[in-house]
């Protein structure tokens, strides 16, 4: 189910402005990869290009290839909707649908696409997804209540349940814990460790301890200055990035000397 992502010579533009330059990296299946770097260095932008979510932003475009097990996401005739149903995404701020119950939020990927699903299959899917997001025990007695009534951490896990309910191959997470307290953060990190068994997980984070805790591989992005494009500076095993970085700027960043 889980797939490899290969990015080749990727450039991202917002109109005429080059936001990310020349990124080439390989993300292994069933692994957690963390993107770190200062704000504005293009790591979130780059993450969005992995499931073509950047296209939602007017003027954003991409040059280069992103291969999902050899299939180019940007090849001719590829429907971004198909791409997104196979590469799920979790956002910085939990965004459950306010008009839907907890159960309907989990089923959103199915129901919004008007797919027929029997009630018992739906029950199974809801339970499986919520268990997968470590939320089942907390909400199993109130599945019909609105999703917006949950706490921030629970909402974020609900969003993860919603993302895994469409059975993607890859899950992208854009700073999933930056709006959460330490206990909810720990719950999400435990969950990421679980997800790794079945999915390819890519996570953007500002929290370097978090990157060190959850990921096997870490990519460090940086910008030379304002108006310059973001670049991939260093990409290797997390332990190397934090203990034995090759680049001076990586060492400066992870040791807190700048940014």
């Amino acid at each position: 189910m889980s797939k490899r992502i290969s990015v080749k010579d990727l450039n991202v533009f917002y109109g005429d402005f080059k936001a990310v330059e020349d990124v080439t990296l390989d993300i292994a299946p069933r692994s957690v990869t963390a993107f770190i770097g200062p704000s504005g260095c293009g790591k979130s932008t780059f993450l969005r290009t992995l499931n073509r979510m950047h296209e939602v932003i007017p003027g954003a475009r991409v040059e280069g290839d992103v291969l999902l097990d050899g299939d180019n996401l940007y090849g001719p005739g590829v429907d971004p909707v198909t791409v997104r149903s196979r590469i799920g995404m979790v956002f910085q701020r939990a965004n459950p649908f306010p008009t839907m119950s907890i159960r309907d939020n989990v089923l959103a990927g199915v129901k919004l696409n008007n797919k027929r699903i029997s009630s018992s299959d739906a029950d199974d899917l809801v339970e499986r997804s919520l268990r997968g997001a470590n939320l089942w025990k907390e909400v199993k007695d109130r599945l019909q209540k609105p999703g917006s009534g949950l706490s921030g951490g629970q909402q974020q896990r609900l969003c993860i349940a919603r993302a895994i309910a469409v059975e993607p191959e890859v899950i992208l997470m854009d700073e999933p814990c930056s709006a959460l307290d330490p206990i909810s953060t720990m719950a999400i990190e435990d969950l990421i460790a679980e997800l790794e068994k079945d999915y390819t997980v890519v996570i953007v984070t500002h929290n370097m301890q978090q990157a060190a805790r959850v990921s096997e591989r870490t990519a460090f992005f940086n910008i030379a200055g304002a108006g310059e494009p973001g670049r991939l500076i260093e990409y290797s095993d997390t332990t190397d990035i934090f203990n034995n970085p090759r680049e001076k700027s990586t060492e400066d960043y992870v040791s807190g000397r700048f940014g």
Binding site: M53, V56, G88, T99, A108, K111, R162, V166
Partner: protein, 367 residues
Amino acid sequence: MLKVDAKQHQSQLTRNRLPRFALLAVLFPAAIAAAAAATLIGFNVVLWMVFTAVLFVIGAWLITLLVEGSRHAGNRMIRYVVYGAFILALIPLVSVIWTVLERGLPGLTSNFLWTSMSGVTGAVDNRTVAEGTPVLGGAYHAIVGTLQISLVATLISVPIGLMSAIYLVEYGTGGPLSRAITFFVDVMTGIPSIVAGLFAAALFGMVFGPATRTGFVAAVALSVLMIPVVVRSTEEMLRIVPNELREASYALGVRKWRTITKVVIPTAISGIASGVTLAIARVVGETAPILVTAGFATSINWNVFSGWMASLPTFIYYQIRTPTSPTNVEPSDQRAWAAALILILFVMLLNLAARLIARFFAPRTGR
């Protein structure tokens, strides 16, 4: 000893503050002085109240200035001016409702609601006045006409307005088309209603021959007035739907149009529905465009596509302008006020409906 201390101790925080009764102590002299001043000109209650208000504000400002200082005095002054402005704004509203209730209620009988003016002539009214029997004839045909015309106008304007708003918010990205739509919607908001009526009359006159007057033409005229209101209110409501919800939906592999119909519109539906209801309330009382498009009738017409049709505003207009019996205008007068009352009740019900709809559709919260 301790008790006495506690009593005598004056809090630093309440020093230089006016006690509550001070304002009453200003109000009574103000009222008396105002009565005296009003008598000089010729006493009446309104004059007395206005003088009292003015003197009270000045007096309250003065003693506050002396005791509490200029900042508190300014605060008090402005507060009373704001209260005064609010009361002034309420006066016309209360007065209208009072007058319409007072004059309209006697005529609001079941006979008035369920009969038309068909067969009610000047002779009938003359006999009613001479014999002192209840007024015959009613506004049934006008109520039917208003409901039909408003319904058809809504059916025309809501899809057009809704889809224009969806285009503006979800698809138009500041291009020439969306700027043109915004501009013309703004222009349409300012179109005088009689112009909308003439437009519809001319349009149908061109296609179906001159003097084509049906309820449908009136509905088209009203939708010209309604569409900009619907577009504007729907656009506002769609814009406040958080972008995060759209992104969440896209990230689940949901297509754009499904995202719009199943996520964006349901989230905004309460605001859209109440906007539409208020747009109906806005046009339901239009008189001029209906006069030139639907004409006027005294009997019931259930078909919006043929024949002249009455409506409540034109019914009121004709009953006042050309009473059924030129010598005895009282029955016509009574019918006009009763129709006005129905129209106001109609608008009130629509506003109430808008609130209920907003509450009913609002995104659920709570645990």
